[in-house]
C-alpha cells in the first residue's frame, strides 16, 4: 500500500448565506515512499487547498471536507488524515508530515529569531532543549546550505535573503525527517537561480532521507525536473495522471496538451504569437454536467457534456497513464514542448515513468520557463511515432 493514498478528496467552502464553492471536487492520487509526486494546475484549480486539507490546516468554520486520505505512519498504522483528531494530527505534523510554503517571508514569524523557530519544533517532537537544541538547529541550517549557521540562529527573518528564508523553512520541515513532505509552490516567490538551488536541495534531502515529496506547482519546468509521477488538476479534479515521461511525451488530456503547448520557445521566430489556452478558468461547467474544461476545449465533442467523464487508463498509453477525457489527444506532444532535456524515444514512453532519476536533473527549473536553449525540437514527432 502507498504511503499516502488520497481518495475522492472534496473540499467545499461556504457558510450561512454564502454561495458554496467546490474548491476540490474529488481528487484521488497516491504517493509511494520515497517518490516525488507532482500536483500541477493553474491558480484556483485546488492545488493548495488539497495540501492544506491533507495537513489539517483548513479553517475550522465554513469548510466541508469529504473523501479519505489514508496515511501510513512510521509505526505502521494507517490513519485517515481527514478525520483524525486535532491532537493526533498535531503529533503527526512536523514529525511524519511536513510542509513548505510558497512565500518564505510571510511564512516566517517576523518577531521571533530563526533559531527559536527551528528549535521549537525540535523541542516539541524530539524533546531537545537548550544547548542541544541549538546545536541541532545549527546542524540543520548547515545541512540546508545556510553559511555561518550559529550566527544565523540569532537573526530574524528580515535579516535573511529570500533564498535563505526558504532554506530555513526547509530546515524546519525536515527537522524530524518526515515521511511525507508537501511543498506548496516552494520556488514561486524566488528568482530563477535561487529556484534551481532550492529544488536541488529538496531533491538531495528527499534522496537522503527517503522522504516522499508531494510537489505542488504551476511550473511545468519544476515538474519536468523533479517529479516521478504527475497529476494534472483542473477545476478541482485530476484530469490526467501519468509518469513524467509519458505525460510530457504524449499529454492526452486537451488541458495538459494545451498547457505544454502554451510554453513559449526561445527559438521561435520573432513576432510569432503565443499559444495560450483560450478562455479562463472561470469558463467552466459543473463536473456533474460534463467535463469542466469543455468550454475551453479544442477537442470538444457532444459526448463531453454527458455526465462526469471518468479517470480511466489511456487506450494504448503507458502503464499508469490515466486521463479524464472522452476524446483524448492521441497525436503526441504539442510542437513547442521542450521541457524534457533530451528527445524522448518511443521505447521510453512505453516503459512508463521509471526513467533514470538523473534524466531531468541538469537543467531543472532553468528550463522551466522554456528559457534554456532548445534541446528537443524533434521530441514531438519522435514520441508520437
Amino acid at each position: 500500500m502507498s504511503l499516502l493514498s488520497v481518495d475522492e478528496l472534496a473540499v467545499t467552502f461556504g457558510g450561512r448565506g454564502m454561495r458554496e464553492v467546490n474548491a476540490v471536487s474529488g481528487v484521488s492520487f497516491s504517493v509511494d515512499e520515497g517518490q516525488v509526486v507532482g500536483l500541477v494546475g493553474e491558480s484556483g484549480c485546488g492545488k493548495s487547498v488539497t495540501s492544506l486539507a491533507l495537513m489539517g490546516l483548513l479553517p475550522n468554520k465554513g469548510v466541508r471536507v469529504g473523501g479519505r486520505a489514508m496515511f501510513r505512519t512510521g509505526r505502521g498504522e494507517t490513519v485517515d488524515l481527514l478525520t483524525l483528531g486535532r491532537s493526533a494530527l498535531r503529533d503527526l505534523r512536523g514529525t511524519q508530515l511536513a510542509m513548505i510554503f510558497q512565500d518564505p517571508l510571510s511564512s516566517l514569524n517576523p518577531v521571533v529569531p530563526i533559531g527559536v523557530q527551528v528549535t521549537e519544533i525540535l523541542t516539541r517532537h524530539r524533546g531537545l532543549r537548550g544547548q542541544a537544541a541549538r546545536k541541532e538547529a545549527a546542524h540543520l541550517l548547515d545541512r540546508v546550505g545556510i553559511p555561518d549557521p550559529t550566527r544565523r540562529l540569532k537573526e530574524y527573518p528580515h535579516q535573511l535573503s529570500g533564498g535563505m528564508r526558504q532554506r530555513a523553512l526547509i530546515a524546519m520541515a525536515v527537522a524530524c525527517a518526515p515521511r511525507l513532505l508537501i511543498a506548496d509552490e516552494p520556488t514561486t516567490a524566488l528568482d530563477v537561480t535561487i529556484q534551481a538551488q532550492i529544488l536541488e536541495l529538496l531533491k538531495e534531502l528527499v534522496d537522503d532521507q527517503g522522504t516522499a515529496l508531494l510537489m505542488i506547482t504551476h511550473d511545468l519546468g519544476v515538474v519536468a525536473g523533479m517529479c516521478d509521477t504527475v497529476n494534472v488538476l483542473y477545476a478541482g479534479k485530476v484530469v490526467e495522471a501519468a509518469g513524467r515521461r509519458p505525460l510530457f511525451a504524449a499529454p492526452a488530456h486537451p488541458y495538459a496538451h494545451g498547457l505544454l503547448g502554451s510554453i513559449p520557445r526561445l527559438d521561435a521566430p520573432r513576432g510569432e504569437r503565443l499559444n495560450p489556452i483560450r478562455g479562463s478558468i472561470n469558463d467552466t461547467i459543473a463536473w456533474q454536467d460534463g467535463c469542466a474544461f469543455a468550454p475551453r476545449c479544442d477537442f470538444y465533442v457532444d459526448e463531453c457534456l454527458r455526465g462526469t467523464p471518468q479517470l480511466a487508463a489511456l487506450p494504448r498509453g503507458a502503464d499508469g497513464h490515466d486521463v479524464r477525457c472522452v476524446n483524448p489527444v492521441m497525436t503526441g506532444p504539442p510542437e513547442t514542448t521542450t521541457l524534457l532535456d533530451k528527445p524522448t524515444t518511443p521505447e521510453e514512453t512505453a516503459s512508463g515513468g521509471d526513467d533514470d532519476p538523473d534524466g531531468g536533473d541538469g537543467e531543472g527549473p532553468a528550463a522551466g520557463g522554456g528559457t534554456d536553449e532548445d534541446t528537443g525540437t524533434g521530441s514531438g514527432t519522435e514520441a508520437s511515432a
Partner: protein, 334 residues
C-alpha cells in the same frame, strides 16, 4: 538597548525646549497679559504697572524667558495665585493620587481588555465576541462622569460594598511615606491601610477604565484576527506545535504591537488628570486642582501642568518605542 535609550533621551531635549518657548509665548501673548489676568478687569493702570514690575514683566520677553527657564531648572514653577503655595508643592501633593488612579484604571483595562479581545477574536461570531464588541461600543459611548455616578450610587450608596468618596477612610491611622497610599501601606507593613486605599480606588478606577478598556478590547480583537490569518501562524501550526506555543509565541507577540501603542496613549491621557471622575469621587488628584486653576486663571499652575503633561506624553512615547523595539526586531536600531 542602553544606547537607544540614551539617544532617545537626547532627542527629547529639543522637543521640550521648543515646548517651553511655545508655552511661554502663549502666556505672554494672552490678551492683557498675565498682570491683568491676575488683577482682573477693574485694575487700574498703576496697579498693573506695579505688579508687572514686581513680577519682572516689564522687561524684554527673552529676559523673562531666561529667568523662567532658570527657575525651571531649579524645579521652581512659581507660586500658585490661588493658594499662595509653591506650584511644585501643590503638584507633588496631588500627583500620587492621580498616578495611583491612572495606573489602577490602566491595569484594569489591560488585564480585562487583552484577554477579552483575544478570546473575542478566537471565537469570532460567538456570544462572547458579540458581547465584547457591543460592550466596548457602550463603554466608549457612556460619559465617564455618568458611569462614575452610576457606580457610586449602586456599589457605594445602595449596596454599601465600597467607599463612596476620598482616597482613604477617615479613621485609618496610616503613615505617609511616598504619598502613594497603597505603596505606603506595603512599605510600612500597614496592610489594612493598603487594602483601604485599594477599596477606595476600585470605583473611580473602573469608571476611568471604561474608555481605555473598550479601545483595548477592540484593538486587540482586530489585531488578533489579522494575525490569525497570517502565513506564519499556519507555518507554526504545520510544525505541530502545542496550542500554547502557537498562541503565545506566534499569535500574541505579533498581535500586541498595536495594543502597546494604545495602552501608551491611554496611560498618557489618564495621567494628565481625570477631572470629572476625580470630582465625583472627591479623589483630590491633580484633575480637580487644575479645574479650579483654569477657573481662577492661575497661570503658574497651568504652565506647570502643561509642562507636566508634555513630559508625561514624551516619556510614555519613549516607553512605547522601547517596548516596540523589545517586541519587534524590525524597528530595532543596530
Amino acid at each position: 538597548m542602553l544606547r537607544l535609550i540614551v539617544r532617545r533621551l537626547l532627542q527629547l531635549i529639543p522637543t521640550l525646549f521648543g515646548l517651553t518657548i511655545l508655552l511661554f509665548l502663549w502666556i505672554n501673548r494672552l490678551p492683557g497679559g498675565p498682570a491683568s489676568a491676575l488683577l482682573g478687569e477693574r485694575a487700574t493702570e498703576a496697579d498693573r504697572r506695579q505688579i508687572e514690575a514686581a513680577l519682572g514683566l516689564d522687561e524684554p520677553v527673552w529676559i523673562q524667558y531666561g529667568r523662567w527657564m532658570e527657575r525651571l531648572f531649579q524645579l521652581d514653577l512659581g507660586t500658585s495665585v490661588q493658594t499662595g503655595q509653591p506650584v511644585w508643592e501643590e503638584f507633588t501633593q496631588r500627583f500620587p493620587a492621580t498616578v495611583e488612579l491612572a495606573l489602577t484604571a490602566i491595569l484594569i483595562a489591560v488585564v480585562i481588555g487583552i484577554p477579552l479581545g483575544y478570546f473575542a477574536a478566537r471565537r469570532r461570531g460567538s456570544w462572547l465576541d458579540v458581547t465584547a464588541v457591543s460592550g466596548s461600543l457602550i463603554g466608549v459611548c457612556i460619559p465617564v462622569f455618568f458611569l462614575a455616578f452610576l457606580l457610586r450610587a449602586l456599589f457605594a450608596v445602595n449596596l454599601g460594598w465600597l467607599p463612596s468618596v476620598g482616597r482613604q477612610s477617615t479613621g485609618i491611622d496610616a503613615t505617609e511615606v511616598t504619598g502613594f497610599f497603597v505603596l505606603d501601606g506595603l512599605l510600612t507593613g500597614e496592610w489594612d491601610a493598603s487594602w483601604d486605599a485599594i477599596e477606595h480606588l476600585v470605583l473611580p478606577g473602573v469608571a476611568l477604565a471604561s474608555i481605555p478598556l473598550a479601545l483595548i478590547v477592540r484593538i486587540t480583537r482586530a489585531s488578533v484576527l489579522e494575525v490569525l490569518g497570517e502565513d506564519y501562524v499556519r507555518t507554526a501550526e504545520s510544525k505541530g506545535l502545542n496550542q500554547r506555543v502557537v498562541r503565545g509565541r506566534h499569535v500574541m507577540r505579533n498581535a500586541l504591537l498595536p495594543v502597546v501603542t494604545t495602552v501608551g496613549l491611554a496611560t498618557g491621557s489618564l495621567l494628565s488628570g481625570a477631572v470629572l471622575t476625580e470630582s465625583v469621587f472627591a479623589f483630590g488628584g491633580i484633575g480637580s486642582f487644575i479645574q479650579t486653576a483654569i477657573d481662577g486663571r492661575d497661570y503658574p499652575v497651568l504652565m506647570g501642568f502643561i509642562l507636566f503633561i508634555a513630559l508625561t506624553y514624551v516619556f510614555i512615547n519613549l516607553l512605547v518605542d522601547l517596548a516596540y523595539s523589545v517586541i519587534d526586531p524590525r524597528v530595532r536600531v543596530n
